[in-house]
Symmetry: C2
Subunit: 560 residues, 2 copies
């Protein structure tokens, strides 16, 4: 992502600034919270508040957002798929119309650079448009029809039809590291709306302003498209009310599903809470991921230096604050290895401090890094352990920053210490040196569930690549050949998910149109009168979608 | 199901009897357990043991079944889909080849009648053949390909491909009420094998002989088809070892998923246990279901008597021991109602004692029935509360039987007592009398998650039917018009599942080829070399399956 795309906001440099006002958006209207629940966003570049006072949503506001979402759910069912597609496109337009204000607000709250945030906004817009296209086309509902056979013995065969139907209002918990793409109109919120589910977002307290501006844009789109105002609410959630708002959402009877992106502790706590309901609801939690990379011997000999450069840039992209950051690199000592390691060290030693998202993330990174560095047999080979040393005496003011760290260990040490299989969120990577190729395979069988696994392979590495492929298939959501895991494409074939602890629901994806299926379940209709069926299942197939009819795909009406 | 189909076994009346020997089948061989773990099956018709001593699998046998299943998993991946289809068909043949021995053994262990068990075996065979056809055709894997775009700015678009891949060895817990269709080669086991997952079955202690014979047949098919012997194991599990075997299976590192059909307590205990693993695995539990039926006013006036007859037969089919038994009937007092109620009472009063599956089920039925009958405002209107009275003084020997019971209450009483929304497993039904049509809708919004919901509707009931349809869509897996919920079709469009507590994973089905998806998760391959891709994702599309290419369905090779 070296080139920054031109965007609408750049084309309108003199648009008036739009500033957040510290409010929630509840069912179509901006709402001020209780002053006892006020909080600030911190600008991590200097560690000071951004200057706007935010007020957390009150319990009454949470309840109103949820009950209005329930009302909106029935209203949405009366709208066509085309209406929904236009609505998603209108949201994209309104977000772009926020212009530079959105980017500037996000920069102030996260310390992320425009080179990172402008493409992130592009991704939000692309995602909304791809979802709109998929909803408009309509076949995503997995319609299936099995014709009746009244003459069958011993009993007549009934007419059976089935498709995906939306669950109801969805609560979305955004992540701190993507103030746009996993937040107020991130992938969970957009896919839920696309599926026909109203959304109530619990805003992330580390970027409340970016969240509020996006919420304002979505609220405008709701109005423009004439959707029920309860279709979308955004709740400011920080300070003393932060945890309570999460709990109120997950236990609210009108909420029928939850999307979460964030820490392992947060995801499991919400999933446990949802299970205590009288009517348990699904929680889709994307949590920690180690994203192992295997550099095979011939690839190493051919292109060790280039691979090292690609990997180092991936590790430090967004200051290592990516769920797809490569956390472990496995390589075999050999001819190409020397230059590979040398390149990594050289790049790491040039690394300087960069702004992290928040004091909390900085602290967790320092703590985790010091844990890893304390293991006997793990050595620092590049960059600095400066950040790890912070763990003993964390700063409470000033810039929030971290220096990259390159750690190195032997396969035996890796095998002995299971903690090395867990995520370290920040700009660090552990290089695990193997003595023979078979240890690459052994290492692959030790990996815990991960979003991705990468194989750097040359033409002569085929047999080993196949072995690793087989081991990784059991453990990751996406297998990448000769590429880095950072950079997640919005596409039908994308799987952004994986076995526990990468996610708690590895049968789904958080990115790409298939994410809509999270917010649905299949419903079967037996001998239903044609007019009572959802339009996708009617005899005439008025939308012309692809349907499975008696087990075969066709776009034709029934009986033709 | 009045006519009994001719089957192969009936065509060979003089085939020699095959008798169970009390053994498990572990990875291709019959295995005798430890005598300390021995147990008996009880013939509920007279309450005496069937005469065969069964020995529960030892911890060593459980471990061997699981580790061999893991080895078999990799072996299966080297077999083609056609091989898997032939294997499923061979299993069907071998089960039929057991002939009358299987039916006779199942009768002795369950008290179910041949008119029920012969069609149940047909269903097992049909299910295997439908799965074989689906696997052979191949499109079920949901292949999706998105082509690369090296020229895209700011970054090239990678080649992405995705399909469903099998999870690994699956543990299956069968149900007591279907000794064939939810047991040793029931719907979970067959769909897991179809998906490419080896299976380890925990046999149900109430029909160990039927289980053993089926296991013997499957083991023969494994050998005939040259599959790895670890592909299938069947563990006898009764007596002191019963619970321990379940625990050993669910916590075994080689087991990657669990299928369960049975009680609410059993299903939730297994799901909780699976979550305590370091690597949690999915548990698909089908539990209790109330299956409400709504009789609309015009349908009642037109055909009250015929509807009553259909419903009563459905309630008492298999002595009410069906997960799809209608448990609640909602009707509005009116002209047609009198004859409707009269017919139900008349049929119930003719009801006599029928053999239930086991002493435990008889006891639970008695207890639950006495609980319901004790609620103020619930009255017995037909049949007898004879069974409920057993709750005070349960018999410990003699025939295991139950008399049907028709209970009646008012809408207000139903609304006041949430316990009336829970299942009562056995030949009973509660008739809830509403004073006005709007109470039918109110009742529908109170229903807990259920496998089915039925609407009996006439041409003039349209508006009310639509309201109920909308309410039931949120609460059930299958909406049935003018039919009874018992009788589950094996079809692509079938959904046998539903919101909690009907199942804990309402996004899936336990019946029909879509059940294969339970045992898979999507894996994405980024820029993978063609020969390393699963055959379904290769450029040439050698199997000619339907694939989503750049978002559109096609059977063509890539790039044509």
């Amino acid at each position: 992502m070296n080139q920054v795309p031109k965007t609408q906001s750049q084309a309108q440099p003199h648009a008036p600034a739009i500033r957040p006002a510290g409010r929630s958006y509840v069912s179509g209207s901006p709402v001020q919270g209780d002053p006892t629940g006020s909080f600030h966003a911190i600008n991590p570049t200097h560690g000071q508040p951004t200057g706007i006072v935010y007020s957390a949503a009150t319990p009454q506001a949470v309840d109103r957002a949820c009950t209005q979402a329930w009302a909106a759910f029935y209203a949405i069912q009366d709208r066509t798929a085309e209406d929904r597609a236009l609505f998603l496109e209108a949201i994209a337009e309104q977000i772009l119309a926020l212009g530079d204000s959105l980017i500037e607000t996000a920069i102030a709250e996260t310390g992320l650079q425009p080179q990172r945030l402008i493409p992130e906004r592009e991704r939000v817009v692309t995602s909304l448009r791809v979802l709109a296209k998929t909803v408009r086309e309509g076949s995503w509902v997995r319609a299936s029809l099995d014709k009746a056979d009244p003459a069958r013995k011993p009993a007549p065969r009934p007419d059976l039809r089935r498709m995906l139907r939306p669950l109801g209002p969805i609560a979305v918990f955004g992540a701190s590291n993507f103030p746009l793409a996993y937040s107020a109109m991130g992938t969970d919120a957009a896919s839920a709306l696309a599926a026909g589910c109203p959304v109530v977002v619990k805003g992330h307290p580390s970027h409340p302003g970016a969240g509020e501006l996006v919420a304002q844009a979505v609220t405008t789109a709701v109005g423009v498209c004439g959707f029920h105002p309860g279709t979308y609410s955004y709740l400011q959630a920080g300070g003393v009310r932060e945890t309570a708002i999460g709990r109120e959402l997950v236990t609210h009877p009108c909420i029928r599903g939850v999307g979460f992106t964030g820490s392992f502790a947060g995801g499991t706590a919400l999933a446990d809470l949802a299970r205590t309901r009288e009517d348990p609801i699904p929680v889709f939690a994307e949590m920690g991921s180690i994203n192992p990379v295997f550099v095979l011997p011939h690839a190493m000999d051919e292109a060790g230096k280039a691979i090292a450069e690609k990997l180092y840039n991936s590790v430090t992209s967004s200051v290592g604050q990516m769920c797809t950051k490569p956390g472990l690199i496995f390589a075999v000592r050999g001819d190409g290895y020397v230059e590979f390691e040398h390149t990594l060290i050289e790049m790491a030693n040039k690394g300087i401090g960069h702004t992290m998202l928040s004091r909390k993330i900085q602290g967790n990174f320092a703590k985790r890094l010091s844990e890893i560095a304390a293991i006997e047999g793990v050595e620092i080979r590049g960059g600095s352990l400066q950040t790890a040393k912070l763990a003993e005496n964390m700063p409470t003011e000033g810039p929030v920053s971290a220096v990259p760290a390159l750690l190195k260990t032997k396969f035996e040490t890796f095998a002995k210490h299971p903690t090395l299989r867990d995520e370290c969120f920040g700009p660090s990577v552990i290089l695990v040196v193997c003595e023979k190729s078979s240890q690459l395979f052994e290492a692959a069988t030790m990996i815990r569930g991960s979003l991705t696994g990468s194989i750097m392979t040359g033409p002569l590495d085929g047999a080993l690549a196949k072995q690793l492929h087989t081991a990784l298939e059991m453990r990751v959501g996406r297998i990448i050949y000769n590429g880095v895991p950072t950079g997640v494409e919005v596409a039908h074939s994308m799987v952004h998910g994986g076995p526990f602890p990468a996610s708690n629901q590895p049968q789904t994806t958080a990115v790409g149109p298939m994410a809509m299926e999270r917010w649905c379940r299949p419903v079967c209709y037996q001998n239903a009168p044609d007019p009572l069926l959802p339009i996708e299942l009617r005899n005439a197939n008025p939308l012309g979608i692809a349907r499975l009819v008696d087990g075969e795909w066709t776009n034709k009406p029934l009986g033709t």
